[in-house]
Subunit: 239 residues, 2 copies
């Protein structure tokens, strides 16, 4: 039996009861070491297998191998394991093992809660990482999402290896979105060292954004009030 468990954005209090229970009932926990560290209190009497970034396939193969011995394995992922997470790879590589996916609070909605209420209307998730996706497809999606006046949640917005993708994405969006569109940046959402910035499309400082940040760009109804970002749902027009 393999569980793929989303542990939520960070601290244990943002984990669901089901995630906690699933981990408690597992013999072996497999995960990227940064996420293992987030829940180490829960893992004291568990067999733990952790490794580094870009070793996802190794982790999945290891988990499948262990489950074949009859042990219950939980592969953990931060946020929701089904959003750019480990759930897909486990299902792709598993054969007849039973796989159960346990949802968690995903990074975008955790960041949104910190910023106010930016996701009150139709929104997109776009990852700017071109490790596994062609860059032209990423930019095409950014353009279409902006043209559709979606609120846009940007995952993996900026790293040392790709310092300019976020700036390029903002240039593409600025063809469709006003320069005064509110932008929220949350780094380490719900973790001890959480940092929050609220700005607009023309005042963002790209240098402050890194791989641990989520960037949320509003739609044409989004505004800032008392330092919170709010996207109108449209009630005032209706009632």
């Amino acid at each position: 039996m393999i569980n793929v468990v989303g542990i939520g954005p960070g601290s244990q209090e943002t984990m669901t009861y089901k995630a906690m229970e699933t981990i408690e009932q597992s013999d072996v926990i497999v995960g990227y070491k940064t996420y293992i560290n987030l829940i180490e209190d829960l893992l004291k009497e568990k067999e733990v297998i952790s490794n580094g970034m870009k070793q996802e396939i190794d982790r999945v193969k290891k988990a499948i191998e262990i489950s074949k011995t009859g042990k219950t394995v939980s592969v953990i992922s931060s946020g929701d394991a089904g959003v750019y997470g480990m759930a897909g790879l486990i299902l792709e590589l598993s054969e007849d093992e039973e796989v159960r996916i346990v949802s968690g609070v995903t990074a975008s909605t955790a960041a949104a809660a910190v910023l106010g209420a930016p996701l009150m209307h139709d929104f997109c998730h776009i990852s700017l990482s071109d490790l596994l996706t062609p860059l032209d497809l990423i930019y095409k999606r950014v353009a279409l999402a902006a043209e559709g006046d979606f609120v846009i949640c940007i995952y993996n917005p900026r790293s040392k290896g790709r310092p300019d993708y976020l700036k390029n994405a903002f240039e593409i969006m600025s063809k469709y979105k006003s320069n005064s569109t509110p932008v929220g940046i949350v780094k380490n959402a719900c973790r001890e060292n959480q940092e929050v910035q609220i700005c607009t499309m023309d005042t963002i400082d790209y240098e402050t954004v890194d791989m641990l940040s989520i960037v949320i760009v509003g739609n044409s109804s989004t505004y800032i009030k008392n330092n919170k970002i709010i996207t109108k749902r449209g009630y005032e027009a209706k009632y």
Copy 2:
């Protein structure tokens, strides 16, 4: 003090510790009666104010009024209160009250976990409800999202008052997406009466979809294996 609490998709086990703790520490709970019923076990010694659909503004005004008396109020929402939920309206209508948003597992990721792993790549949320949004904007978003090869999560897909919007949306998507694109439909995700259907764009039976359903339409890399929907992340191309 007003908390806006996402209670997750349904049963208590999909709630976070923080949501549970916030409700426990509140004097008054305000919510749509269907959601109040989902967590009635937790509310035995609480003052509870519930009302029906389309009475969101009344609920919010009531919550703000109560918080002015010094009581701690929690307004509850299913899923994540920040995704098409109550968080925005509370922030819009509140003045100097302290407002805290507590995230939950949102409906799309809960449905995705039941279906397999459809959200492994860039995806959109689009609500087909035109109560608060012009229908032409909704269809424009459907077209742009399909053109961008996004995975598309459809909220409020079909009701008695708008039986044809989902069919119309599928016709628009079929200009860009193959007829064999996997589609998942989850009704009452994570609740007792959960129903799951996996089909393709050309085999969907619209009649089986209602307002309590989430519909997830894959991208060009999505496939079905062992009755699970999987969207490839792209590892096989990379490694």
